[in-house]
């Protein structure tokens, strides 16, 4: 007697079988758990702010340099306007510059050497800790890495305004300080001297508003932690390629797929079940990680979910190709690595400043990571992501189509 079974029921039955097989695969189950635990931990371990300040030590303190020179400057005939000009060049208030002031050069030298530690408390005050004298580090403070300092003579300002030349200034740098920092501080001292001496710049500088191009992120840079968010979501989607490919290759190698096809199930049902299962597993994992690391906003949540779904189907398509190609476990692992390593490049590329190289933009995973970056880092919505989403869908069609064809041909050859 012949009983009609609907396609949906067949696919559903195959899905149940997939779930059981997945749960039995301890290696990949353990890997899934590792990824789900490691991804949020790695995210939290990343620095959540960008240290973009230039730390400059000076001695004596600015106030003492000014106090010690004001009377001398007046006596030397400097006008009140001259004195005001010097006072206005207050270095302690320069944006992006952290000035650490020392009473004497020996102390400053010790701080650069590392024997005297400089800590910044949460209220911004600087604390000096002499570890060699057994002093304790302040709680809740962060270490300030002082690599370069300038020792000015006490009468630096007065002598300069008086027209003295050849005044000696010592720049102390730590041996590991980058050369550009050493050069910049030397240039900085020379330029400060030129300005105080009243020598105007050899060029006219444009207005500050015309100098900065693009959104000015000074003090509001995207941290490494924020940059890691799209990358982690992407890696979670990608990791499923390995387990999904393993599920496919096991069926092919052990020929259980031929047993499945003896039943009313067709190859299309088999592929549909694999696709639905693979997509659901990777999409769910990405959602779990997303919930743990955050990143959804009112304007971006729908775009993020859409691109994660596209990514999940894309990687399932790749898993179908890999699963059909692998001749054994190691071979399948090799193919999975061969596919996933190049596809990982766009995710790394976003960690670097600047625009992505043209050849990276061609890779199928670029639009996925691009949308994730736009949505989770910059809060972009559908308008910003539309172009990349269309591009991602085109690649999805190609990769998923290739996966279906590869698996169909493999099954037919068994």
């Amino acid at each position: 007697m012949r009983r009609t079974v609907s396609r949906v029921a067949i696919v559903f039955a195959l899905l149940k079988k997939e779930l059981v097989a997945y749960a039995r695969d301890t290696v990949y189950l353990a890997l899934t758990l590792v990824v789900l635990i490691a991804a949020p931990l790695l995210f939290r371990a990343m620095p959540d702010r960008v240290d973009e300040e230039l730390v400059l030590a000076i001695c004596p303190p600015v106030e003492r340099l000014l106090e010690g020179s004001t009377e001398a400057l007046r006596a030397l005939g400097a006008s009140e306007a001259d004195i005001a000009r010097i006072r206005q060049a207050d270095l302690t208030n320069q944006k992006g510059l952290l000035l650490v002031e020392f009473d004497d050069a020996a102390k400053m030298r010790a701080a650069i050497e590392g024997s005297l530690e400089v800590w910044r408390a949460s209220d911004g005050t600087l604390v000096f800790v002499d570890t060699t004298a057994g002093e304790k580090r302040p709680r809740g403070a962060e270490r300030v890495d002082v690599q370069v300092g300038v020792a000015f003579p006490e009468r630096f300002l007065a002598d300069l305004v008086a027209g003295a030349r050849g005044i000696e200034v010592t720049v102390y740098t730590h041996a590991s300080a980058p050369p550009e920092l050493r050069q910049a501080v030397t240039s900085f001292v020379r330029e400060a001297a030129f300005e105080i001496a009243g020598d105007e710049l050899p060029v006219r500088f444009p207005d500050e508003k015309d100098v900065v191009l693009g959104t000015d992120r000074l003090g509001d840079q995207v941290s490494l932690r924020e940059k890691m968010r799209p990358m982690l979501l992407f890696v979670v989607l990608m990791m499923e390629t390995f387990s999904m490919a393993s599920l496919v290759s096991t069926e092919v190698l052990e020929r259980t797929v031929t047993a499945v096809l003896v039943t009313p199930a067709k190859v299309s049902d088999f592929i549909a079940a694999k696709t639905i299962f693979g997509t659901l597993v990777s999409f769910t994992q990405a959602l779990i990680v997303l919930a743990l690391i955050g990143g959804l906003t009112a304007s971006s949540w729908s775009v993020v979910l859409a691109v994660l779904a596209i990514g999940a189907v894309m990687f399932t398509g790749i898993a179908l190709i890999v699963g059909a190609a692998g001749k054994d476990f190691i071979g399948q692992l090799f193919y999975a690595m061969l596919f996933t390593v190049p596809l990982l490049i766009p995710a790394f590329a976003v960690l670097f400043p600047g625009s992505v190289a043209p050849w990276v933009r061609v890779l199928p995973t670029f639009p996925i990571i691009d949308v994730l970056v736009k949505a989770t880092v910059y809060g972009g919505g559908w308008r910003e992501a539309a172009g990349s989403l269309v591009y991602a869908l085109a690649w999805l069609a190609v990769l998923f189509g290739a996966g279906v064809v590869a698996l169909r041909r493999k099954v037919a050859s068994l």
Partner: protein, 354 residues
């Protein structure tokens, strides 16, 4: 144990191994990791200020800034392309030097400078590029600074990140070639039944294990040396480096044999390697983060091979300085060898019942 049979098996492994994906990975991975970590991550951890320049008048400023240490200079053909690059943060700052610029500065005409900063550039880079540019323009003008700047270097130069990454790269060379190649070769033979066939011949499990171990030692030594050469860490003390590398290869390969003897199939092998990965990798992390308490690293077995490589190959030390570490590494190797020998009996039983 028969040296002749061991040599025959080893020859076969070398011949057939080159077709194995794992073998290929062992050869390619250290090169790929060197490229990724040194080229990509080196610049990520230690970014240099990037200056884009358009020069229409063969300005001296371009030559001077190109000669300056630590600033990456990129020359653009036209101001529009430079402007786009600054806006996209492909460079931190952009400088346009029109025709006759140098002459105008020298003549004291104070031309208006076209200087752009990327909104995404870091404050420190903005300051470095701005003051360096101004200083170069002062030099161009011929102005003599009113101060004499004396630079004094203090403290000891720390190791750059590119050097601190060397143990990590050597670790991967050792693990892939020393651990993964012999273990996967052994497991593959179990799965394909060739090991069972081999044991029907006069060859014993000991001959097979020693052959696989030798395969790992040769490959791991070769790949470690290649990695050290690629990372410019093989100096004049190379004979001593070869000794520490050989000891490291012996230990990792012995570990590979134990894992291969334990794992009944590829999935189990993969699971063991993945599961123990953190444990194996742990000592390497201490070289990347020198502020961590270094004694903890000693608790992990691979510390005893990574540390001699670090001190002899990277820091240029001598064997006498790492004699105790080498002694411990050889002790661990012998212990692993004894474990592999006892596991070989279990493995033989496993094969017989397959």
């Amino acid at each position: 144990m028969s040296p002749r049979l061991t040599a025959t098996i080893l020859k076969k492994d070398f011949a057939s191994g080159t077709r194995s994906p794992v073998f290929l990975w062992a050869l390619v991975l250290p090169l790929a990791i060197t490229l990724v970590l040194q080229v990509a991550f080196g610049s990520l951890f230690q970014p240099k200020p990037r200056l884009g320049i358009v020069d229409h008048g063969s300005s001296q400023v371009v030559r001077a800034v190109q000669a300056a240490d630590g600033i990456r200079v990129r020359v653009f053909e036209d101001p529009e392309a430079l402007r786009e690059a600054v806006e996209a943060n492909d460079v931190d700052a952009g400088l346009v030097l029109p025709r006759g610029f140098d002459e105008a500065v020298k003549a004291g005409a104070r031309p208006t400078l076209t200087f752009w900063m990327s909104g995404e550039s870091y404050a420190a880079n903005r300051i470095v590029l701005a003051v360096t540019t101004i200083d170069l323009l002062r030099t161009l003008q011929g102005a003599r600074p009113p101060v004499e700047v004396r630079v004094e270097s203090v403290g000891e130069a720390g190791l750059p990140i590119s050097v601190r990454l060397v143990p990590l790269i050597v670790f991967y060379a050792l693990v892939m070639a020393g651990l993964f190649v012999p273990s996967s070769s052994l497991v593959e033979e179990k799965e394909q039944g060739t090991l069972k066939a081999l044991l029907v011949t006069p060859a014993r499990t000991t001959d097979v294990l020693v052959a696989k171990w030798t395969l790992g030692v040769v490959l791991a030594s070769a790949m470690s040396v290649v990695t050290l050469v690629l990372n410019r860490a093989l100096g004049s003390n190379w004979p001593e480096v070869l000794v520490v590398v050989a000891v490291a290869a012996m230990l990792t390969s012995a570990l590979g044999i134990v894992v291969g003897a334990l794992a009944s199939d590829s999935q189990m092998l993969f699971g063991i390697v993945k599961g123990s990965g953190i444990f194996l990798f742990a000592p390497v992390a201490f070289y990347l983060f020198p502020d961590w308490p270094q004694w903890i690293a000693r608790l992990f077995p691979l510390y005893w091979i990574i540390d001699p490589i670090w001190r002899v190959a990277v820091l240029g030390g001598h064997l006498s300085e790492v004699a105790s570490e080498i002694g411990v590494a050889l002790g661990i190797t012998v212990a692993l060898g004894a474990l592999a020998r006892s596991l070989s009996k279990r493995m033989q039983l496993q094969i017989a019942t397959r």
